[in-house]
Structure formats: structure tokens, C-alpha cells
Symmetry: C2
Subunit: 667 residues, 2 copies
């Protein structure tokens, strides 16, 4: 549907009221006008592929049909994407583009069954294979004459990698590893593609050689015969069942019964095993951290995108939907005229901007630390790790909450799968758990904060994102400015960290072991970590917005400024208790903030539709009856409903089989 | 599986550590030992019905198959339930028992396609039909020789009933009503059973007679031919598509093309129309409020039940799951030993107890107000209405948040549909919207609060639940006791209401119309409503617990006391900002509360599994791989996965069709 077709009048009016140039904002979000053009070209090419978009919505299919349909589309999608992409891009660049773009959302309600091949199998080979291995496996993997995946998590172990139970025992007589699953809980569980799609897999297993443990190591294992696709002897494969989301990703389980693989199937860039079984451990165990951090940064960016998608749907619907009366006889207003609705939605737009800027900032940080690592300098890795942990955690916390808020703001229709809001939530909430569970990550950051506090007490300097912990800050006079608020949030983080450390000391004094004192204080430690994340998010949002918008037009800068202020005031009012405890904020300051916040909602109001238009998701990527560009909400709800196979017949067979005899008293 | 079969050792140990008698608590929750026995007998009888429980989990079926399977089971379930129920119960009592019990959860992942017949069609006839109509329709409905539903919501209108567009125009020449859907947005949308199940329906439509509007009235409409089940001429029916939950309920749409029905099809207990078209309106329009309030009270009870179900699953899993290390070399602890996990879970148990007691209290209030109504005394109806509004809203807010918290506390496995946690969330979150959307209800309560405030200013007495608004309370000295906390929450509600009213006045002074000033202040009004709800919940939880536990054994009373205190301290710490603003709570008080809260988590710890066992959900009702009584978590996860139709074949057909040619470069 082109943008010039019939548009809902309310939406058209909203667009005419917008105070900035929408295309200018799109270009800013993409990075440049050229980047916008490239993205649109890629989308045009891929989405025009015959047979790629579903005619019957996936939600009506059975679990098995969903998978079969997804394989059909994955093949088409992969070819189309490959043909459309710049052939000069490296495999890694291509992989990144696929991983970060929301383009697959137009094709799969979640992700392709090939996702793990691109997102994990290839990167693991790049990071952990030696040169010889890389040459062979990358050649095959990049042209996809095999499909790989990555198996780490087990039925009984996710977070605690050292606890993985799968064993790889080296047998020097045959120069083979014997892979084995000693218990039910040692079965690999969760890897995408694993069930019926992949025929190769990187398996993380506990290596034993010469009777000794050699830690968790990566092995490439052939799972299925290349001709028949039958699982190889000693390999048990299957799928793990239906889930809240990702049902086309083909998550599987994998068990080994003394399955043998050759010695060269261990990925040996970092650790090695010689023919006789002598183990040489990795020079620097921190080197494997890198990929983990990278994936977490990508998740922050993914959150920004998914949140933008949900906000687009909810804001457009709120401009089209009219309900109730504000004033008797004045007709039903657009529901976006209700201030409570503005309060629900605009923070979602602002948060998406915040996370998008933060992801870009964190990516730059990641590349700079990686460059240092190559030079053997690991000094900044701990700070990067601590920052990525809490930002991944808090961005998923906020995003999942805000996506639900967007969904619920659409009333009953947000409950329809045709709105796509339930599925977007399903995707986002998975990120709360995968690649580092929320609480686990928050406690990792807390450990860094406690360490930093101790260093500071010992007079040592702190890393940039934590240096505020030793600063004094304003204590006498609160200011409702952005800088005043950032300063206030720094005092909160200081105060919460101090309180958590005091709690650890208290429990230690009572005779608890250090680990128990830590555990008893862990609710407070998580709170300190969150407070720290709020400081990083707020101060980075401000500094990155300032840094990146100097060449933008004045109207656009003004509106982006509204969002930053709205974000800061929203969080100040959310965390007012903490601020009252640790800063000099007064009741009068708070009342003034409430007034200014309400005023800001009114200033964003005429720009709301323009702001979500600028995210520039085309209708196929939104995949939503409520959020399409033209605002034909009710027509689309009916059109989608009529696609239900149940609506193909006026009378369902169950009437004759069950209902009629039942009503006639014969059943 | 009987309780004497093999039990996970960790769970068995937990049960042996429990400090109270589990059966005693179950009896308390059921009302009496006799009530427990009756419930168990009913469950035994119904659940032993051949063919009632699925062999292949519903999650693997297509949308259409789910419906067909649900109709098959609905017929079996209805007959089994009818046979098992006491024949001396009235239809209303039977309907209530079916509506409130979680028994259907063992059979349907959500609800039966007959639910609306029992929950809405019959009650509407009881409440709105005259004696003659009642006699005819109730006779047919109670033996189910017809299946009815209730159609009010339209594609374009939910909350705003006056805005409904479906018209019923009386034609005195033929003594008929002409039902018509003038627009797409006037199509009825959402009613359960409507799509392919029901053949009769109560339709709410805008009545016109003698050229005048006569308001929204109820009509019984035959939808389908009783023999062929074909939609009658002038009636368009279908289903609305897939949803986040309730996919076996068969939600439908309904449109009319000048469809004629006889005059006696208008339900005429309250308003009437004579043969010549003279309209007589209802004597008291408030009489129809009753059912609405009743349904909201039932929802609070439903929330208590669903939350108990989620807590049972998460607590048992947390006793079985072992992960990471607290102390090096000490082995992996049960994840429930992490204080952060206790913090996530125990508030869910306590909240379920709170909502259960509040629902019972509100039910008694409802019956007492209804008895008054029969005597023509409507004085207490507004207070009941205001209380039910905010309690329904806040109980769904808390419950949905806590169910997600339980789900996320189970890590990745909580994302599996076989855990049943995603489906329980899907059910609960629907209640956030249906029967009164959250924000709409909160603003209705806010209107009552503002009115009460004005009455108090004029020296008039306030209704019991609001009388605290005029009381002075402690202002000088905060106390960390339950009474002190309740008093503090009262001050918060007072303060927030005062601030919202001040905001309305400020905007009015600036020249805004009263409605606009209200709208501008609506975020603060919702906050005042929530603060009021917190007062009602906390004070009622305390008083009802005290009132109902006098004859319990000391150990049980002690543990129930832990839960009350945990609940009070949890909310004090959550709302500490409000308390700092409006009470004299000090930093020292807060630190003390944090200590006591952590101490209470430790006291609940040995009783946690006992507390959820006492909810006494049998495995079929929990329907969860993670939550079963025996704790065979990993075995069940694998058993359920193996039921996936995808696992019936080692190689899926999509390999030959797509994957192989693709990998060989031929696609």
C-alpha cells in the first residue's frame, strides 16, 4: 500500500500538525540520508520476493505447520537477502545486518530457523577456530552447504556454565573425543535450529583428558547425515515443544550416547589438545568475554527497535480510535487526547530513542575495548562488561514493561494477535532471560560496583562510568534541570550502594559467611545496580543526544529535546522516593516537575504520530491491524478475521458431531 | 499420580520442614473441612471422565483444531459437571460454582466455549427478563437445548456503552424490532461462543421507537437455525481470529442487515415497549449496576486463584531447580535459597491470600447492598461501586505483574508453554481490560473520592471505606507496626487526593473548562485512586485475617501472620517515596523495615512449599511440567516435548522439499 492511498482522516490531520520534518528524523535514526535509502532499497528488494509473505496468518497454523512454513520461507528469505545485499560486505557484516534489522519480522512472526547459523555458528567459528579450521568450516558455512547451530544450555543448566554436564573425553588411542550425556538434565535444551533444521552444531562440553578436567570447550559435531538428514548413531535429537514466542526458530534438544568425533573437531584457537592428549589452556580466558558483551549490546539495540515498533502501533491506533466523551455533546475524542493515554505512550517513544543512542555508544565502546584487547590491554574490559550487564538487564526490564503498556493502552484489540502486540511482547520478554538472566546480570554489575567502592576507599581512581561514585555532587540545592536530575540520580546510586555495603557489613558482623552476607543483601545490591544503570542511561542519553544533533534543524532538535526532558522528568517522578531519601529535592520541586511533565505531554501531542512515522517501519514489518500507516484499523481487523480457516465454513463440523446431539439431549 | 509415588527429594525435604498443618490451611482456604472434601469429590468425579483430558497438548493444534477439540470436551465436561454436582443446587449456584472454580483449567487451557451461556446469558435472563420471558427462556437455557451468549461490545465501542451503534427500531405495524448494523464499527465483536457455537444471543442495541431514542436495551435474538445451525437471513456471523489467550472460547462477530424479531424478544423486566410502540423506561437505572459489580468481585477472586496457581508452579520449581554456587565447593543450592528469588515469590503467595480474603469480604458487602436494594435503599450502592472498581483494577494490576514475576523467576523454562505460566498470564492480563478497563475504572473511583472530599468539606459524613479521608491520623510519629503502616497509607491517599484536587483547581483557575482540568489532572487522579485501593486492601487484609483465624492452630496463625507482615512491609518499601512525602517515616524506619523484611523472607522460607501445597491444586489443574506435586521437572519437560507432532518423525518433510535442494545450491 503506497502512502498516497486513502488515509484515515484523523491520522492525516495528525501528520499535518507535526512540527518537524519527519524524513529528517528518519535519516538521523538511520545515520544518514544515504543509509535510509539503502535500507529502503534492501527492504523493497527482499519484500517483493514472490511467496515470501504469508497469505494465511501464521497464528492459525498448527505448531508443525508453522515450522514447515518457516523453512519454506527461510530458504526464500536467505536467497533474497543475499541477492539484495552489497556483495562487497564481509560475511560478518552481512551477519550483523541480518541480525540487527527488523526485516525478518515481515516474514517470520519471530525469527528464521536459520538465525542461529548466522548469529552464533559463524561467529563462534570466527572467534574460536584456528586458521585451518576456520578456512574449512567458514567456506562451507558461508555458502550454507551445511546449516549449523550452537548448543550450550542444558535442561539442568543455563546461567552456571561451569555446571554443564555434557562430557567430551579424549581417547588418545583413536585420537577421538567421546561425547556423552550422563543424565537427563545434561541434554542440550533450547538451541534454535537444533531440532530438525541444523546438520552441524558447536557443542560446549566439559573436556576430560588424561583423567583430568580441562574445563568447558567448544566442539563441532555433525548431527545428521548430509544426504538423508537422519540423526547420526549415538545422537538423540528432537524439538522442545511450544513456547511463548520463537515458535518458528525450531528450538531443540540433543543427547549423546558415547558419540565419537575426531580430534580436529575441537575448536582450537584458544585451548588445544595434542594427539597424545596433552591439554594446553587458553592464554587469556577473558578473550571469550568479547562475543558475550557484543551480543548484549546488540540486545539493547534490539530493545530500542521492538519498542519503537510497539509504540508505532499504539500511537497510530490512539489517533484513530475515538471513545467516550470528555465534554458532553462534543463528540468522542481520539483516545490520544486523554492525558492518561499520553502518559502511557510518550515515555515508550522517548525510551526507544534513549536505548538506540545508548546502544550506539556502547557499540563504539565495545570496538574500542576490542582494539585494546588485540594489543593485549584488558584494563577496560571489566568496566565494559559491568556496563553491558546492567544496560542489557535494565533495557529489557523497561522495554518489556513499556511494550505491555502499549498493548494494554489499545484495550481489547491489543489482545488480538492480529495487532502483533502480543507477539512483540513475547519476543522482547525472552531477552529478559536469554544471554544473561536479569537478576544474575544485575548482581554481576553490583559486584563491580562494590569493588569500585573498595578501590575508591583505597584512594585508587575509578573507571569513567563509575567515577561519580566518589564525587560529592550538589547536596544543598536540588535543581529540576537535566543536569540537576543526573546529579540527583548519581547521589541515589551512591546512597543505594552505600546502604547495600552497610548491609553486607552488618550481616558479616552478625557472624554470617561473606557469601551469606552477600546473599542476604542481594535485594539491595540489585537496587544499587539499577540505580547505577539509571545514571548511565540518563547521562548517556543526554550527552549522546547533544553530540549527535548539532547539525539538525531547530524544529527537530526542539522536539528531540522534549523527549529527553520527558524521559528525565518521568524517571524523576517514578523514583521520587529514592530522591527524597538521598537528595535535597523538596515537595515544591516535585509539584513543579508534575506540572512541567503534564505540559510536556501537551507539547509532544501534535508530534506523536510524526515521531512514530519517523521510525519508518513499513506495514509488512509492523504486521499489525492497528498500526498500519493508513489507519484503516476496523477494516483491517475484519479482513484479518476473515482469513481464519474457521470462517471458511458457516457451520463447523463439530456442530453435527457434538453440539446438535448434545442440545437434543442425546449426548 | 498419587501423592505417595516417587517425590523429588528436595520437595520431600521442604514438606518435612513445614511448620504448620497443610491440610488445616487448605480447609481454611476452602471455608471448612467439609468444603474441601466436597471440592475434592467433585474434582475426582469430573476428572475421571473418559476422554476429557488431552493426550496431545492443545498448544500443538491449529486454531481450528483447538476449537473443534474444545467443543468435543465442552459437551463431556458439561455433562460430567452436571452429574457430579449436587442436584439440589439452584441453576444460579451451579453457574457460580462453574464460573469460580479452576476445575475447567484441567480441561481447557483457558475456558469452555459454553462459558458465556452460563456466565452471562442465564444471569442476564435472570436479571432482565420479565416473569413470562424468564419461564420460557430459563427452561430452555438450563437444560441447554439452546446455547446462548451475550453481545454488547462492538468493533468501535467497548467502554462507552452509550456510544453503541447497533440499532433496534420498533415497527408497530408488524410489532417487530428491526435490528441493524449501520457501520462496520457497529459490528458486535468479542463475545465468547458467538462465532460458531451459540444459536441464541442477548444483544444490547440502541432502541428507537416512535422516532425517539429509548436508550440501550437487551434483546434475545435467534442467530442460527436450530436444525441446520445455518445463520438466519440478515445475520452475519464469524470468528474474530487468534488472541493472546481464550482461543477455545470462540469469540465472534455479529452484524445485522435489517433483521426482524418479535416484540416479545426485548427483555422487559426493567423497561418495556407496548404494542403501539410506547416506551416505558426503567424505574431505577441503578438496578442494572448490580451484575456489573458482581462480575468485578468475581474477578478479584479469580485473580487470587490464578496467582495461587502461578505461585505454586514457581515455588515448587524453585525448590527443585539447583543452580550456580553460593559458596565455592558447597554444591549448587536450590534457587529458592537465593534471597532475590524469595523476594520475587513470597509476595505472590501473600497477595493471593490478600485478594482471596478481600473477594470474600466484597462478596458479603455485595449481598448486603443487594438486599438493601430490594428494599429500595440505594444509598450504599455508590460506595460499593467505587470500591469494586478500584479493587478489580488494582488486583488485576498486581496479579498480572506477579504472575509474570513468577514466570520470569523460572528462567528459560518459564517460557515453555508446558510450564503453563505463559497461558496463566494470558488469562489474567485479559482481566486487566475486560469488564472495565484499568484506567477507566480508576478514574471512576477517583470521581467518587473527589465527591467524598467535597462532601467532607461541606461537613457531611463519609461512607465507611472513605471515612479515613477526614481523619487526622498520626502525623508526628511513624510506627513500623501494621496499624502504623495502614495509617501511613491513609495519609498518602489523603495527600494524593488533595494534590489531584489542587491540580484541578489550578487548571480551572488558568481558564480550562472543568472537563479539561479533570483530564489534565487525570494521571494524579489515577494515583489517588491507587493509593485509596492500597488502604482498602491493606486494612481489609488485616481485619479479615484477624476475624477469620481465631479458631486456627497457633502455628498456622503464626505463618499467616508472617504473610500479612511481609505484604505490609513489601508495599511500604515499594511506596516509600509516597510515605516520605506524606508521613513522618524516617530513613531509620526504612532501614529497620528492610532488615525485618529480609528476616521475614527467612521465616517464610521453610514454609513456602507447604503454603503452596495448601492451595491444593491437583496436577491436572496446574497443567504444568514445572509445578507438579512430585517435582519430576526434567522428566516432565522431556515427556511433554516428546508429545510434539514434530517429534513423531526423525526427518521433517521440509528437508526433502526445501533444505536439501537449498544446501545443494539448487534453490
Amino acid at each position: 500500500m503506497s502512502k498516497t492511498d486513502v488515509i484515515n482522516q484523523d491520522l492525516a490531520k495528525e501528520r499535518s500538525k507535526c512540527e518537524f520534518n519527519i524524513e529528517e528524523l528518519t535519516n538521523y535514526l538511520d545515520g544518514s540520508a544515504q543509509a535510509t535509502e539503502n535500507r529502503r532499497k534492501l527492504e523493497n528488494k527482499v519484500l517483493s520476493t514472490e511467496g515470501l509473505l504469508d497469505k494465511i496468518p501464521e497464528d492459525f497454523l498448527s505448531h508443525k505447520e508453522k515450522y514447515e512454513n518457516a523453512v519454506r520461507k527461510a530458504v526464500l528469505f536467505y536467497r533474497a537477502l543475499n541477492n539484495a545485499q552489497d556483495p562487497n560486505m564481509s560475511d560478518q557484516e552481512k551477519a550483523n545486518a541480518t541480525y540487527r534489522s527488523l526485516l525478518p519480522s515481515a516474514v517470520f512472526k519471530d525469527q528464521s530457523p536459520f538465525t542461529l547459523h548466522v548469529a552464533m555458528f559463524i561467529p563462534t567459528i570466527l572467534g574460536q577456530a584456528n586458521e585451518e579450521q576456520k578456512k574449512y568450516w567458514l567456506a562451507r558455512a558461508s555458502k550454507m552447504d551445511l546449516i549449523g547451530t550452537y548448543a550450550q544450555t542444558e535442561l539442568g543448566h543455563g546461567t552456571f556454565i561451569r555446571g554443564l554436564e555434557t562430557t567430551a573425553t579424549y581417547d588418545p588411542k583413536t585420537e577421538e573425543f567421546v561425547l556423552h550425556s550422563p543424565t537427563l538434565s545434561s541434554y542440550k535444551w533450547w538451541p534454535g535450529s537444533l531440532a530438525h533444521t541444523a546438520n552441524y552444531c558447536v557443542v560446549m562440553a566439559h573436556l576430560y583428558s588424561q583423567g583430568k578436567s580441562c574445563g568447558i570447550q567448544p566442539f563441532i559435531v555433525q548431527l545428521r547425515d548430509e544426504e538423508t538428514h537422519m540423526p547420526l548413531p549415538g545422537i538423540k535429537l528432537g524439538e522442545i515443544g511450544a513456547k511463548l514466542g520463537f515458535n518458528t526458530v525450531n528450538n531443540g534438544f540433543l543427547g549423546f550416547e558415547n558419540h565419537r568425533i575426531a580430534r580436529d573437531r575441537m575448536l582450537m584457537k584458544n585451548a588445544q589438545i595434542s594427539k597424545d592428549g596433552t591439554f594446553t589452556k587458553s592464554v587469556n580466558s577473558k578473550l571469550t568475554y568479547g562475543t558475550m558483551v557484543y551480543v548484549r549490546v546488540a540486545i539493547v539495540n534490539g530493545m530500542a527497535n521492538q519498542l519503537a515498533r510497539a509504540a508505532t502501533i499504539a500511537v497510530r491506533y490512539s489517533a484513530v480510535r475515538r471513545q467516550s466523551e470528555l465534554k458532553p455533546g462534543a463528540g468522542e475524542p481520539q483516545i490520544m487526547d486523554y492525558v492518561t493515554q499520553q502518559h502511557k505512550l510518550y515515555i515508550a517513544i522517548a525510551s526507544s530513542h534513549a536505548f538506540s543512542l545508548i546502544a550506539k555508544w556502547l557499540t563504539r565502546k565495545y570496538y574500542s575495548v576490542t582494539a585494546d584487547l588485540e594489543k593485549g590491554n584488558t584494563g577496560e574490559l571489566p568496566e565494559l562488561h559491568a556496563t553491558a550487564c546492567c544496560l542489557k538487564a535494565v533495557s529489557t526490564l523497561d522495554t518489556t514493561g513499556l511494550i505491555e503498556r502499549c498493548r494494554l493502552s489499545c484495550g481489547g484489540h491489543g489482545y488480538m494477535l492480529s495487532s502483533n502486540l502480543p507477539q512483540i511482547y513475547g519476543l522482547a520478554t525472552a531477552a529478559f532471560t536469554y544471554e544473561g538472566e536479569f537478576t544474575v546480570l544485575m548482581l554481576q554489575t553490583a559486584r563491580s560496583l562494590v569493588k569500585a567502592w573498595e578501590q575508591a576507599s583505597a584512594g585508587k581512581p575509578l573507571s569513567p562510568t563509575m567515577s561519580y561514585l566518589t564525587q560529592k555532587g550538589q547536596s544543598s540545592k536540588w535543581s529540576n534541570s537535566i543536569d540537576g536530575i543526573i546529579d540527583g540520580f548519581q547521589r541515589v546510586a551512591q546512597g543505594k550502594l552505600e546502604s547495600a555495603i552497610a548491609s553486607i557489613k552488618k550481616y558479616s558482623k552478625q557472624g554470617l559467611a561473606p557469601e551469606d552476607a552477600w546473599n542476604m543483601s542481594s535485594v539491595r545490591l540489585v537496587a544499587a545496580s539499577e540505580a547505577h544503570a539509571r545514571v548511565v542511561i540518563l547521562s548517556t542519553y543526554k550527552s549522546e543526544l547533544e553530540r549527535t544533533t548539532t547539525s539538525l534543524s531547530e524544529p527537530l532538535r526542539r522536539v528531540l529535546g522534549y523527549l529527553l526532558h520527558l524521559y528525565a522528568f518521568y524517571w524523576t517522578l517514578e523514583k521520587v522516593g529514592d530522591l527524597l531519601l538521598y537528595t535535597s529535592i523538596s515537595e515544591g520541586d516535585i509539584q513543579q516537575l508534575e506540572d512541567v511533565y503534564e505540559d510536556l505531554l501537551g507539547k509532544v501531542r501534535p508530534n506523536a504520530v510524526g515521531l512514530v512515522d519517523a521510525f519508518d517501519f513499513r506495514d509488512q514489518i509492523l504486521n499489525s491491524t492497528l498500526g498500519a500507516y493508513d489507519g484503516r484499523v476496523y477494516e483491517r481487523l475484519m479482513e484479518e478475521a476473515l482469513k481464519s480457516p474457521l470462517n471458511a465454513e458457516p457451520v463447523n463440523q463439530s456442530f453435527h458431531k457434538y453440539l446438535k446431539p448434545f442440545m437434543q439431549g442425546k449426548l
